[in-house]
Symmetry: C2
Subunit: 479 residues, 2 copies
Amino acid sequence: MSRHLYAVILAGGSGTRFWPVSRERFPKQLLKIIGEETLIQQTVRRVLKVVAARNVCIVTNTFQAETIKLQLSNWKNELADNFVLEPEGRNTGPAIGLAALRLLRRDPEATMLVLPADHVIKGDGKFKQAVSFGYQLAQQGVLVSFGIQPAGPETGYGYIQPDTRALLGTFKALSGYKIRRFVEKPDLKRTRRFLETGGYLWNSGMFMWRADRLVEEFAFHQSTLLKGLRAMDKMDEAGPSGEQLAKRYKRLKSVSIDYGLMERSTRAAVIPVEFSWLDVGSWSSLEKILPRDKRGNVTTGNVVDIDSQGSVFFATKRLVGSIGLSDMVVVDTPDATLVCPKSRSQDVKSLVELLRKRGTPEHLEHTVIYRPWGSYTVLEEGKGYKVKRITMLPGRRLSLQMHRQRSEHWVVIAGTARVTRDKTVFELGPGESTGIPKLTRHRLENPGTVPLEVIEVQYGAYVEEDDIVRYQDDYGRGT
Amino acid sequence: MSRHLYAVILAGGSGTRFWPVSRERFPKQLLKIIGEETLIQQTVRRVLKVVAARNVCIVTNTFQAETIKLQLSNWKNELADNFVLEPEGRNTGPAIGLAALRLLRRDPEATMLVLPADHVIKGDGKFKQAVSFGYQLAQQGVLVSFGIQPAGPETGYGYIQPDTRALLGTFKALSGYKIRRFVEKPDLKRTRRFLETGGYLWNSGMFMWRADRLVEEFAFHQSTLLKGLRAMDKMDEAGPSGEQLAKRYKRLKSVSIDYGLMERSTRAAVIPVEFSWLDVGSWSSLEKILPRDKRGNVTTGNVVDIDSQGSVFFATKRLVGSIGLSDMVVVDTPDATLVCPKSRSQDVKSLVELLRKRGTPEHLEHTVIYRPWGSYTVLEEGKGYKVKRITMLPGRRLSLQMHRQRSEHWVVIAGTARVTRDKTVFELGPGESTGIPKLTRHRLENPGTVPLEVIEVQYGAYVEEDDIVRYQDDYGRGT
């Protein structure tokens, strides 16, 4: 396809409805919900059928960027300059606008295929066809959306009514129309009527347009927002300037591309598509994509059940025992468990909101924390100590650092560790250990070709992450 | 009360219906279900109102004995010689018979108050009164049971019908009668009829009799069993002889005291009592002893709920999030979670049976394992390593030992450790660490006056408990 085509993947969602597997800093697109790859990995593979990796652009926020980079490390070099970082989520309008400005700097002819990172799509051939057609229509200057034939009276989606008398073009079996109207998340009564009368489509949240045309529409319908975005784009061009950028971004209007532009534009178009599409919106929707057993249960992980039916079980290594459940959701993670009826699975959002208000850490992060050099898992925390398992990728290292309040003890359980302790440097193999007294400069490094695994025991009056003095860091973190 | 009165506490139950908080090796009587003490601690406190600690005898099995001794360490010296250990559970008949023979060796006048370790009783004054009266009746040579006024049509209990025309005696407001008949766990229809017609009592599982009279009844109704018990008692008198005893015990008839003796005896009596009594039989019965919130939920531990009603939540430190549950049971422990409707809470037993058949470790033990020197918790296990937190009581020590396949690394996080490594002995304080290579003789000891806490990291091709060579052990474990 054209070298002017770019895929813009929106990966800034906060995925609260998949708690406790998703967390504020670890949302849905980072999860393996179906198959061996995470949703964002699947999304990248999908767009690689229509664009080269260097034409893939990821819009996300600073909290998720490290994990996403880790998950997309297959295309590390090609994607290196293609991350658009939002200081915080301001809905899809600003995110897409920022990506458009960035692409225009690189290619004035840029045409954008915009798609969320967390959708499940089946049918690569039909997807490719729809994008080809979308590209054609976009060159006519219209804003293209992709409409899905409704499979039921879903109230969680937006609906689009095409104007079937206003045909914009055809391509193989596909047709493109002007849009007659948008309906934002209608109630059950209306969605039922839509299904009966026909002629309504689900808004897939996927779009195509020329970047220059999009910016024109921004200028017309969202001029203040565009001004703000232009200023940010300039700052971004001049190099990273974190805090100032964040301040400015916070002042931007939080608005969806649908409400802010598509619904206002006279040039909105829709292509009814034929590939199978699912916005995995909640735990109960797993039934639509994962196989059910003969009692209608969907089960992942270590579950021992007697007599349950129509239920969704999502567990990990911990054991979940269940008896006689009907239409329930049970989700288990190392530090938190969720139990609710399927019919309440949209309300997980409210539960997460409640956790956030109460300041419980389980809404924010997992016990596994990803870092540019690998990851760590807190195995236990107690008064005056913390035990972690650290996994360090080959060739990576921690910053050269020092702690004022704690000593650290390392036992290597796999791979080779190169340890810097004050002025000495030495290596440890599996089963070997060392101690780093407090106030001692040190560094942990993986000089090998396989991941290094270390059990770290911290001891001290204060064992939080912010007791750290960094002397040198490979990842540009504050020294 | 009389110095010939002995309390015999039956603490050998396997408590499968309280899984996952109870485990095969950690049953109900060892749990804090209500209040700050475990059920067996509460039972001991209760009997101390009527007998001295040195007259309390505990019948249990070898797996639970260490934990029970730990929980009853307040009365360590008084109870030291009062444990009757069964190699395995053979129901209440053999357990009580064995205790009777042991007591007769000590005191030919012994009168036994037999009571299960896992009942909840309120009303110490009325309990004491009932025991006083029971003692009087027992001296007449009858076998006394205690009957509870039924609070509902419970099908989980046995029922006793007193013969109200056969009064054996009175004491204050209490009367004792001969028993007309026993009914073993009747169905719902019959229990309802019993309630309507009146005159039926719940069999509390608590009894009183003279030990010599009980043995006479055994000789009459269970002569083979008695022969076996006498042989075992002889072996026991001669000193511990584990394996042989176990073999013999396995051959004994597994029979309840109710079915094996009480129902057959012509001298069975019952005292209808007035104290409040509950055999906490399943998770749903917690509603009867713990306070409910305004939606009818009973909640223990870290639970964040929206809109649930009539449900039982029993959690620990891990977070349980729930939404809109009705009449459900959710129980969470560090390594396993249970979810079932209250109406199915008796079936937890079947679930545990299923786990046992599949060989899952979660049916058998907790992540916390109690030992005579303290306890340990497995924080994580992986290929080639294991991480434990070890708590050692003041003045205790591990055996002098050696491992063929693993090295061990210790970091002290509280207290003082005395370490023997080969021929050297040294002490470590909090924040200090050491390593024990494989094939090295070593010992960990707590010379201090506060508990010692150590994080242990094991590394090796094989990290199971049976890789141990013991050279000396304070607790008589195989060297």
